[in-house]
Symmetry: C2
């Protein structure tokens, strides 16, 4: 089972001339294949997420603004501040995650290793705690 303790931000390098370019290479910066990509533009202060995945891994990059990500493994919570597109957060399966859109025009880019499947979601926190217990036994 994955734990928040083992979760760390991955740092990408940027190329700055007048603008800024940040690149991420599959097989180098991240090891998973990208099967689905989604981008979320949140309202200021919006709180989204509130779910875990059973199998799917998410790679998060805040490409504009600032996104606060709370990760929870049922025993411990860990907070990550995504305030630059050089910071990448990989959320493995079995981790409950929430995102707060903490600045105007915050855009979160999420890359997933599987297509959308509602059956892979755990959207109820008590059910999540139960799921973690079952996985550990």
């Amino acid at each position: 089972m994955n734990n928040t303790e083992d979760m760390e931000l991955i740092r990408l390098s940027s190329h700055v001339n007048s603008g800024k370019l940040v690149a991420l290479e599959v097989g180098k910066d991240i090891s998973l294949p990208i099967r689905r990509v989604f981008f979320v533009s949140g309202e200021l202060g919006e709180h989204r997420g509130h779910h875990a995945h059973k199998v799917l891994t998410q790679i998060l990059v805040c490409v504009n603004g600032l996104c606060t990500v709370i990760c929870d493994d049922g025993a411990n919570r860990k907070k990550f501040i995504l305030d630059s597109s050089e910071k990448v957060l990989e959320i493995p399966p079995g981790i409950w995650a929430e995102q707060i859109y903490s600045r105007e025009n915050t855009v979160l880019l999420v890359m997933c290793d599987y297509p959308f499947d509602e059956a892979d979601y755990i959207r109820d926190y008590d059910e999540f705690i139960q799921y973690r217990k079952e996985q550990l036994t």
Copy 2:
């Protein structure tokens, strides 16, 4: 050889509650594998790009702001306005492309089907015209 005449924007659907989520699925919305992703934050009015690729295809999404993309096949130019993340532009190989960051905080997301390879770039316009001629003969 690819022509700008055949280039059209792909439309993605969005899920709007308080914020907005737009998703793109590999094998459904786009057919190419994603091997490299980069995100560019441009200065207002910045003009970037000015190159073509020999083999690589780029998938462009403007995830914040407004990006004007000019595509050129050596004979015809075509302009695309990316003013929403529902609009996706696929730039095939052999097309010269330029991007203008036309609004504050414009962020362009680019997904590529190959890793970075400087040898795949044509960065000189005269050389590009010569390359198109050679490919057509």
